[in-house]
C-alpha cells in the first residue's frame, strides 16, 4: 500500500485563553476524499491553517508522503511548494484578471521577456479542458459564476502540481447543478490519485462524495470514520456531542401554554429571504424560550435575521404583537425586539467605545435624538454591570479590553437595557467559558419567567434542552420541524437535523 500523503500527529495549538487544537491526529491517503467536520470552534479551520502554515502550532508533527522527517510550513506559499493547495469559499483569485491570467499569474509563459498571451491562453484552455470545463479563458474571471471561479481556483492549484487539495466550504454559495459539477471534478481528481480534504456543513454532500470523515469537537479529535460505517444520526451526535456536562441543572419550567390563548409575540407566516432562508412559519409566545437547532449554515441564524430585519425579508409576513413593523432594525427595536447577533466582533462590539457607551447605545438609538443624561447612562451601565457581573476595570474601559465572555455579557446587557418583549440570542455562549455559559442560560430562563419571549440559537443541543421549552429544527435553509414537551430529547433533535434516512 502506498504511503499516506499527510500524517498529522498530536497537533496542539493554543490561542490566548482557548485551546484550539488538543492532540489532534489526521491522516490523508492518496485517492481519498476526506471530510473534515465539526461545529464552529471545533478546530477544523485551525487544523487546516496549521497544515498550510497560515498558523503556527506548538506541539506535534506533520509528515508528508513517506518521509520520516516531519516538515513545518511557515506560509501558504511554502505549503503550496510542497504540493498542498487550498481553495476557499471566498475565491482568492483576482476577479479583474482573465481566467488564463489567474491560472498563470506569477508564472506566465514568456517570450523574449514579454508575456506570451497566445501561449498562456492556449495552455489555460488545455488546463481547463483537462478538468472538463469549457469556458472562454480570455474573459475576466469576475464575469463568471462563483462555481466556475472555484473550478479555476482548483485548476490553478492542480496545475501548480498539487497532491493535496483542501476545499474549504466550497459549496456554500453554489446551486445544485454547480455542486454536481464540482463533485464530478472531485471524483476525477480522486481517480488521478489526489488527496482531497473537504470541509463542509452539508451532511448530504458528505455522504455523496466522501470516503472518510474526521470529526472534531472543541479542539479535540472525536474520531475518524469510514462513511459507510457512520449513520447520519451518529455523525450529528459526534459533531454536537452527547455527553452531558455537569453544569448546575437549571430549573426548566414546563413548556408554557403555547395553545391558542392570547396572541403570540412573534408570528411569522411564510417569511423568507430570496437567496437566503426558505419561507418558514414560527410563533413565539410570552414567557417562552424557543430554540432553533441545526448545523452551521442550516439557516438558524438567517431565521433570526429575517425576523429582526437585519436581512430584509421579501416573502411572507411578520406580526409582532399583532402589528407589522417595517423592515429596519430600528423599527423592530421600537416594536420591542432585541437581537444579539452571532458574530460578536463583526456585528456586536463597537471596539473603541467604552463599556458604558456599548451598553446604552441600543436604548439610546431607540429613544431618538435626545441624549440620555450622563447620570442616567451611568445608572443603567452600573445596573447591568452588576446584574450580569461583568468584569471590567471601570465602565469607561473600552470594550476591546474585555475578555470574550464579558464582551458577550455587555452585548446582552445592551439589549436588556432596552427592556424588550422579545429577545433573540444567536449563539450567545460561543467561545466563552463554562461559568459564563451557565450564567447566560440561567438568565434566559429567568427572563422568560418574567414574561419575555426568547429565541435561543445554539450549536450545543444540551444547552438548548436545558433552556428551551420548544425547539425548531433547521436543515439546508428549511425549517424541517418543531419539537416540544416530551418529544424533546437530544436524539430526537439530532435525528431531525440529520434528516435523510433518519427522517420521515
Amino acid at each position: 500500500m502506498a504511503d499516506p500523503l499527510i500524517r498529522m500527529r498530536g497537533i496542539t495549538k493554543n490561542f490566548p485563553g482557548v485551546l484550539a487544537l488538543d492532540d489532534v491526529d489526521f491522516t490523508l491517503w492518496p485517492g481519498e476524499i476526506h471530510a473534515l467536520m465539526g461545529e464552529n470552534g471545533a478546530g477544523k479551520s485551525t487544523l487546516v491553517k496549521v497544515l498550510t502554515g497560515a498558523e503556527a502550532f506548538e506541539t506535534g508533527a506533520i509528515y508528508l508522503g513517506g518521509a520520516a522527517k516531519p516538515v513545518i510550513n511557515h506560509s501558504p506559499q511554502e505549503a503550496q511548494g510542497r504540493g498542498i493547495s487550498t481553495v476557499y469559499q471566498e475565491v482568492n483569485l483576482c476577479g479583474n484578471l482573465t481566467v488564463a491570467e489567474n491560472l498563470f499569474v506569477g508564472r506566465q509563459p514568456r517570450r523574449a521577456g514579454f508575456v506570451n498571451w497566445r501561449e498562456m491562453n492556449r495552455r489555460a484552455r488545455q488546463v481547463m479542458e483537462g478538468i472538463g470545463v469549457d469556458i472562454d479563458v480570455g474573459k475576466p474571471l469576475e464575469g463568471y459564476s462563483i462555481a466556475v471561479q472555484q473550478m479555476v481556483a482548483i485548476a490553478r492549484a492542480i496545475d501548480i502540481s498539487a497532491t493535496v487539495l483542501i476545499l474549504d466550504e466550497p459549496t456554500s454559495s453554489l446551486n445544485d447543478q454547480e455542486v454536481a459539477k464540482l463533485f464530478d471534478l472531485m471524483r476525477r481528481l480522486k481517480a488521478d490519485g489526489l488527496g482531497i480534504i473537504f470541509i463542509t456543513h452539508f451532511l448530504e454532500q458528505v455522504y455523496e462524495v466522501c470516503d472518510k470523515i474526521t470529526v472534531l469537537r472543541n479542539g479535540r479529535l472525536v474520531g475518524e470514520y469510514a462513511v459507510e460505517t457512520l449513520s447520519r444520526t451518529d455523525l450529528v451526535a459526534a459533531m454536537l456531542g452527547r455527553a452531558f456536562d455537569d453544569l448546575a441543572a437549571i430549573q426548566h419550567k414546563a413548556a408554557p401554554v403555547t395553545g391558542e390563548s392570547g396572541t403570540p409575540v412573534i408570528a411569522a407566516r411564510g417569511l423568507g429571504v430570496r437567496g437566503g432562508v426558505k419561507p418558514f412559519d414560527l410563533d413565539i409566545y410570552e414567557g417562552e424560550v424557543v430554540g432553533l437547532a441545526g448545523l452551521l449554515g442550516s439557516g438558524r441564524t438567517e431565521v433570526a435575521r429575517a425576523i429582526y430585519g437585519a436581512d430584509t425579508a421579501d416573502q411572507g409576513t411578520l406580526d409582532v404583537k399583532g402589528a407589522r413593523p417595517k423592515h429596519h432594525p430600528i423599527d423592530s427595536m421600537r416594536a420591542g425586539m432585541a437581537f444579539c447577533p452571532e458574530s460578536r466582533k463583526d456585528e456586536g462590539c463597537l471596539q473603541d467605545l467604552s463599556v458604558r457607551e456599548n451598553i446604552i447605545l441600543a436604548e439610546q438609538s431607540k429613544r431618538g435624538m435626545r441624549l440620555m443624561s450622563r447620570s442616567e447612562q451611568e445608572k443603567i451601565a452600573d445596573e447591568y454591570i452588576r446584574l450580569l457581573q461583568i468584569k471590567t476595570a471601570s465602565m469607561e474601559t473600552p470594550i476591546k479590553q474585555l475578555s470574550g465572555g464579558n464582551q458577550q455579557k455587555v452585548i446582552v446587557a445592551r439589549w436588556l437595557a432596552t427592556h424588550p418583549d422579545f429577545l433573540i440570542l444567536d449563539e450567545p455562549t460561543r467561545g466563552i467559558d463554562v461559568g459564563t455559559k451557565a450564567e447566560i442560560q440561567k438568565l434566559c430562563v429567568r427572563l422568560a419567567d418574567d414574561g419575555m419571549a426568547i429565541l435561543f440559537i445554539s450549536s450545543e443541543i444540551d444547552e438548548m434542552l436545558r433552556t428551551c421549552g420548544r425547539i425548531g429544527v433547521m436543515r439546508d435553509l428549511h425549517k424541517v420541524g418543531e419539537l416540544a414537551g416530551d418529544e424533546l430529547s437530544s436524539s430526537a433533535i439530532m435525528a431531525k437535523i440529520a434528516g435523510g434516512e433518519a427522517d420521515e
Binding site: P16, G17, Y308, A310, H328, P329, I330, S332, M333, F339, P341, D346, E347, G348, C349, L350, Q351, D352, L353, E357, L361, A362, Q364, S365, K366, M369, R370, L371, M372, Q389, K391, T392, A393, T397, Q401, L402, S403, G405, N406, R414, I432, D433, V434, G435, T436
Partner: protein, 392 residues
Amino acid sequence: MSDVVTRDAGPAAGPGPGGAARRVFRRILHSRLTFPLVCLLLVLLLNVIVTTATTGSPGPFFQIALTNGTLNGPLITILNRSSELVILALGMTMTVSCSAGTDISVGAVMAFSGSVSIWLLGFGTLPQNDYHVKAYVVPYVVGLLVAVLVGALCGVWNGFLVSRLRIQPMVATLILFTGGRGLAKVFADGQIDKVDVASYKWLGNFIQDSSGKNIVPVPTAIFIAGGMVLVTALVLRYTPLGMNIQAVGINNKASRILGLKSARLILLAYVFCGVCAAIAGIIATSRIGGIDANNCGKLIELDAILAVALGGNSLAGGKFSLSGSVIGAITIQALTTVLYSINVSADQLPFYKAIVVVIIVVLQSPETRPMWERFKARWRRTAPSVTAGDAA
C-alpha cells in the same frame, strides 16, 4: 467563575516595582489629547525660542496690547488666523470619523459659497459697477444664509455620493474640488468681485461703528470660530449624534443592528462639513472684502486634514476628539507663524508642513513599532555583551 478580569487588558498593568508609576505614565501617554497638546506646546516653544532669539526676551510673544481699539499680539494673530481652519477642522473631523474619508472639496466650497453670496448681494449691478458691490441688493443676512445654503447643498451632493452610491469619499469630493472653483468663477464672472459696503468686512476683521471705529477689540473671526466650536460641542453634548457617528465609523454593520441609519448619519456629516466650509468662506471673503475665486481657500483642505490628524484622530475613522482637531488647527497656524517669523515665505511653508506630516504618519503607522523592534533585535544580536543577561 473562571473568567479572569480583563485577561488582555492592554499593554498596561505590568506588575512589579514601578508598575503603578508606569501605569500613570502610560495613561498620560495614551490619553487622546496628549499627542496634540504636546505638538502644540512644542510649536509654541519654538515660537518663544525664535522670539527670544530675535528680540532678546520671550516677552513679546505673550504681549497683548490694545492699540487703536484693537487687541494686538502674536497670540491674538494666531487665534484670528486659525479661525477658518478651526471651523473646517470641525466638519472634517465628522466626515473622517463616520466615513473614514476626507472631504477635499472644502476649499472649493468656500470659494463657491462666497462667490454666490456676493453675486446675490450685488445682483444685477456687478458688471456696470466694475465688479464692485456698492450697495446691497438683497439684505446682507440673506447673502449669508444663501452662502450657508450653498455649502449645505454641496454637502448633500458629497454625502449622497458617499453614503448612497458608496463612492470613496476622496473620489466623490474630487468632483466638487474640480468643479466648485469653476462654479465660483462663473458666479464671479471670472473677475475678482469686491464689496465696498463697510459692514461686509466686519466678520473677517473687527466690528465697527458707523464712523469706522472698532467697537469690539477682539477680531470677529475668533468669536465665530469659538461660537462654532461651542455649538458643535453643545450638540455633541446634548444629542447622541457624536456617539452615533463614531459608532458608524467604528463598525457599520454593528451600528445597523443597533438601529442606526448609517447613510443618514454620513449624509449629515457631509452636510455639516459643507456648512462649515461655507462659514469659513464667509470669513475668508470678509477678510479681503471680496471674492478671489482662484485663491479663496486654496489648498486649505489639506491643512484641515492635517489638523484632524494632528489632533490625534485616526484618518481611518472611528473615535474622534473634537478638541484635538481644534488644537491641531491652532498648532498648524502657530507653526505657520513661527516659520513666517524666521523669514520662510508663504510658498516655502508646505515644505515644512510635509516634514511634519511624514513624522506624524510614520509615528502613527502600525508597521513602525514592529520595524523598530526588529531593528532593536538586530542591534542586540550584534552587541550581545550589553543585554546578554536579558536574553538568557
